[in-house]
């Protein structure tokens, strides 16, 4: 698997994992993969919802020791 840019949003109440991802997506190239780390359960739902709405791709999602890992690909 190719290297993903890590967006470490653990412990982020403000701006929070989704905002961190939106900002990182803007700076990323089309086709690039980003992996968000989050300790917030809500973001495991918010992030896929946003990804779907905008049309990017959710590559994988998992949880390990209270940390959610969401890997996404910038599609446009």
């Amino acid at each position: 698997m190719s290297e993903a840019t890590i967006v470490d949003a653990r412990g982020s109440f403000c701006p929070g994992p989704l905002m961190e991802l939106i900002a990182a997506m803007k700076a990323a190239r089309v086709g690039e993969e980003l992996e968000v780390l989050s300790t917030d359960r809500g973001s495991a739902e918010d992030i896929p919802e946003w990804i779907k709405k905008v049309g990017h791709t959710l590559v994988s999602s998992s949880e390990e020791g209270g940390v959610y890992h969401l890997r996404v690909r910038k599609a446009k």
Binding site: R10, E49, K53
Partner: protein, 378 residues
């Protein structure tokens, strides 16, 4: 002689410089340590005051103080913006052509609004993130006689409370002008609720309902059509406006990107030690870190206190002892005469209380106390 060099004389840099000058007084007096501050401006701006300028409550001239008067006299202060960083050789080169060496470096060059990154935003929206823009916003509000007001928020941006505060303050402004029946508000926000802090969103949503402010979430502006007066979002929706108020997306300073210190000007920073990733003698604080926390003056302030203690130890007796726990404190203006606040860190979410007049008056007092706070007197 341990040389500490601070690049950036805003909130974080000024507090850090004064904190170090105090802690290292004996070492500085006996030429065993020095503190040098390089900045891009001879004047220090109290940026939160820009919000009040937009509502005619502060004059632009009230926002500035001569930087030199804020600094301990032992600090070597130069208005000489850094143009290149040579971290492998422990030196930076500034605009004057002069090179400054260091044993320890702290970078706190802040962030800047980049409205041009959303097509049409710069030409069609008002904002409060520069003096010029805040003055123009005041004029736009003063001459607005009614119509659709839309509020759009870009990511990332400094001061997380500004989108809400602008909305609450505009509502009260038009209420005072008895224009509420002619004005409609549409507030948009990038994520699935109306503020990034869940508890703040829970408190603000019923306030918006009461005020009749419509809100649309998961809205990230893609472009602004100034002819049709419409904002199109990445998510495929459209908001129409007669007056568009923006919180523009931000970046770190260009010099950070040009020197390849961090994508978009955000420097990869260790969340606990505040060391730049991969460097032992370079530290980062304030808006320019890539940390997932609010870009706010209070963040820079708490970080500067941790770094002050650690750098003073490094310059004298050895290792750093304190870690930064992610502490942030933000006032939230909830209209023209009420306010609340949010206080949180990496582990504890905020629990905002209902707004009161007392907190509003405290915030107004802080607008003046800021100068003593950066001097290290508070």
């Amino acid at each position: 002689m341990k040389r500490i060099l601070i690049v950036g004389g805003g909130t974080g840099g000024t507090i850090l410089a004064n904190n170090l000058a105090r802690r290292l007084r004996h070492e500085i007096d006996s030429a065993r340590a020095s503190v040098t501050l390089l900045s891009a401006s001879a004047r220090h701006m109290y940026q939160p005051g820009l919000l009040y300028v937009a509502f005619g409550k502060m004059a632009p001239s009230e926002l500035y103080v001569d930087q030199k008067t804020l600094l301990d006299p032992t600090i070597h202060f130069h208005v000489d913006p850094v143009e290149s960083f040579d971290l492998d050789h422990n030196e930076v080169k500034a605009k004057s052509g002069k090179t400054y060496g260091y044993d320890y470096l702290a970078i706190c060059t802040g962030s800047r609004p980049v409205p041009a990154s959303v097509p049409g935003l710069m030409e069609n929206a008002h904002h409060v993130y520069t003096e010029d823009a805040a003055v123009k916003t005041a004029e736009a509000l003063r001459t607005f006689e009614g119509g659709r007001i839309a509020i759009v928020t870009g990511v990332p941006h400094k001061c997380p409370m500004v989108p809400l505060e602008l909305t609450f303050m505009m509502y009260d402004y038009f209420k005072d002008r008895e224009l509420l029946d002619k004005v409609s508000f549409t507030y948009t926000y990038p994520i699935g609720r109306i503020h990034s802090l869940e508890n703040v969103a829970k408190w603000a949503a019923p306030e918006f309902d009461r005020m009749g402010v419509r809100y649309e979430t998961l809205f990230n502006a893609k472009e602004v059509d100034g002819v049709q007066k419409r904002v199109h979002s990445e998510e495929g929706s459209v908001v129409e406006f007669d007056l568009l108020i923006a919180v523009p997306p931000h970046k770190g300073m260009e010099v950070i990107e040009q020197n390849k210190l961090g994508t978009s000007g955000w420097i990869p920073t260790n969340r606990a030690t505040l060391a730049m990733e991969g460097r032992e003698n370079v530290f980062v604080l304030g808006d320019t870190t890539n940390l997932p926390i609010s870009k706010a003056g209070s963040t820079a302030h708490y970080e500067a206190e941790v770094l002050g203690e650690n750098l003073a130890r490094l310059a004298t007796q050895g290792g750093a002892m304190r870690t930064y726990e992610g502490k942030v404190f933000c006032f939230i203006e909830a209209g023209k005469d009420r306010a609340t606040y949010a206080s949180f860190d990496y582990k504890n979410p905020p629990q905002p209380r209902p707004p009161t007049r007392a907190i509003h008056w405290f915030k107004l007092a802080y607008n003046r106390l800021y100068w003593n706070s950066v001097r290290g007197l508070l």
